[in-house]
């Protein structure tokens, strides 16, 4: 009995995959067939729109219109039925819980960006000098493939806490206790829980920074380094005066990427602490306003703040893209 119900499940999963994947290709072929029946002149005008049409439709329905809608309802009350002006924004910038949220996000931004980019750069330079470079890089890069939820479970286990006197099964507390200290509730203690969460993101993204920075470091010509060495520069001087200035633009791109990612960090906080004990960040707070408190006005206002924070990045991206297009 159970075997056959499992078979049914697997078959219906395969059917769903085929329908979902095949459907989209079918739509394009159908539209194309229709277009080919049209007279040639009309066809050349319509065909581009058939090709970009579905993309345009999805972007409009799922990104552009909802973004505008969110902007609009951020000026309305919890059920979006009464206009409240800037009230939601005033709440967002003055409420004492919200101020903790911003403080946390600032901590995340500074520490995750600083450590993952800094460590990533140091590792990229060091690993360049050893023969087992690919293995070392793979191991450090590996966490990138793991989901935030998976990483959260991995670290919950590292941070596991038992009262003093009991056997510690979390590695960090085991080491800490063996050094003669009292066990620490890494996720409970308000003075350190934010740092414990931030460490997870650093663990996840240092490998990413390393991979990007490493390819930049390898791009520096050997002659330049050799010339600096001839002039009597030591390794530290080479690092500060040659390596860093030469890969400055890559460092900037990597840092921006991490900043955008950190601004939207959600899963780690949601899984590890649910945002309790002063660990909420902007994105987890938004979900809380939405689901727990059912306040769509405040939820939207918080989302808009997130958007405002990434707008400088958007402007820089568009400007850079335009320059590229002109130099083509």
């Amino acid at each position: 009995m159970e075997g056959s119900s499992n078979l049914v499940r697997i078959l219906s999963a395969i059917a769903a995959i085929l329908i979902g994947s095949g459907g989209v290709i079918g739509i394009f072929y159908g539209l194309n067939l229709l277009a080919e029946r049209l007279p040639r002149r009309v066809r050349t005008q319509i065909l581009p729109w058939i090709y970009v049409g579905p993309a345009l439709l999805l972007l409009l329905v799922y990104l552009i219109l909802p973004t505008l809608r969110t902007l609009y309802i951020s000026f309305f009350g919890r059920r979006s039925d009464e206009f409240v002006g800037l009230k939601n924004y005033i709440f967002a910038f003055t409420d004492s819980d919200m101020l903790i949220v911003f403080r946390n996000n600032l901590l995340w931004l500074v520490l995750v960006t600083g450590f993952s980019v800094g460590l990533g750069l140091i590792i990229a330079v060091l690993v360049d000098r050893v023969r087992y470079e690919p293995v070392a890089k793979s191991l450090i890069f590996l966490p990138m493939a793991i989901s935030f939820v998976g990483a959260s479970v991995i670290w919950r286990f590292m941070y596991a806490f038992q009262p003093a006197g009991q056997e510690q099964i979390g590695l960090l507390n085991a080491i800490w206790v063996s050094l003669g200290n009292e066990p620490v509730g890494w996720l409970i203690n308000r003075a350190i829980n934010n740092f414990a969460l931030i460490a997870i993101m650093i663990w996840l993204y240092t490998g990413f920074c390393m991979v990007l920075l490493s390819s930049a470091v390898k791009g520096i010509s050997k002659d330049v380094i050799e010339a600096a060495r001839m002039d009597g520069a030591n390794e530290f001087q080479i690092f500060w005066r040659v390596t860093i200035p030469m890969i400055r633009s890559t460092i900037l791109v990597v840092s921006t990427t991490i900043v955008v990612l950190v601004l939207k960090v959600f899963d780690i906080v949601f899984v590890m602490t649910g945002g309790n004990l002063d660990t909420d960040v902007i994105a987890s707070r938004m979900i809380k306003e939405m689901f727990n408190y059912g306040n769509y006005g405040r939820g939207s206002a918080i989302a808009v703040i997130l958007l405002l924070a990434v707008i400088p990045v958007m402007v820089v991206n568009i400007r850079r893209f335009r320059e590229q297009e002109q130099s083509r």
Binding site: A13, I17, Y51, P54, A55, P143, A145, T206, F208, T257
Partner: protein
Amino acid sequence: MTLADNRRQAKNSSAIEQFLAKTPVHIAVVAIAVIWTVPTFGLLISSLRDQEALLQSGWWTIFWQPGRIAEFDLENYITVLTSQGMGQAFLNSLVISIPATVIPIAIATFAAYALAWMEFPGRQWLFVTVVGLLVVPLQMTLIPILRAYTQLNLSGTFLAVWLAHAAYGLPLGIYLLRNYIGALPRDLIEAAEVDGASHLKIFTRLIVPLSMPAIASFAVFQFLWVWNDLLVALVYLGGNQNVAPVTLVLRNLVGDRGQDWHLLTAGAFVSMIVPLLVFFGLQRYFVRGLLAGSVKG
């Protein structure tokens, strides 16, 4: 002692010197690699130990008592797959991730071809919009879309997450593929046009095969992104356990059974196995996708 001997000795000592000079580098690299691996490794070991042993002693103690490795078994995996819904969730993750990868690939490749090689009004503007949309936080879209889904009774269906993931992945896909397809040699495409090939023929016979490296990068990136996603599944699938992917079930396990480490460790590995296989098998494409797509919203 001849001159050659002298030189050889000098060379030898400099090799040793070089190795010694490098010792701090070796120590640092090995130490970091070990620190970065230990958390995952500890979880893997623990997922193979039984419930009692897990709570009685730290996983590292098996190194002092290697005999206990004989006690390892897959019991926890069987439990979590059958009685905790991880088996169904694994299927659901596949059902969500594969179409949510194929759909944006098809749509983005067609759009990228049109943006690169077809003449129509407003195409520059369209592409600038795509670049702008790259960093829009998807949080901006959650509330309106969830409301629309609730009204249309789409909430809690695979279609709802397929389309949402497809749309969220599109800006990156179009950006990546348009840059790649736009850089293909003009002569090639014009020659095909002169031969009377239709746009669809040029697209399927020429553009798609030539763009495979870029398509593969985007595919790997999008697949991992969808597989590892929690937020989209949480919001649009709601409480419907029948369609919940591994990330959602694992998150619920943490909430309900937070101290049942035998379930959590095995559950985490079930959720990680596919990304790890993709990582080891397709690392090249993954890195390329990351390099190009690090700005995704």
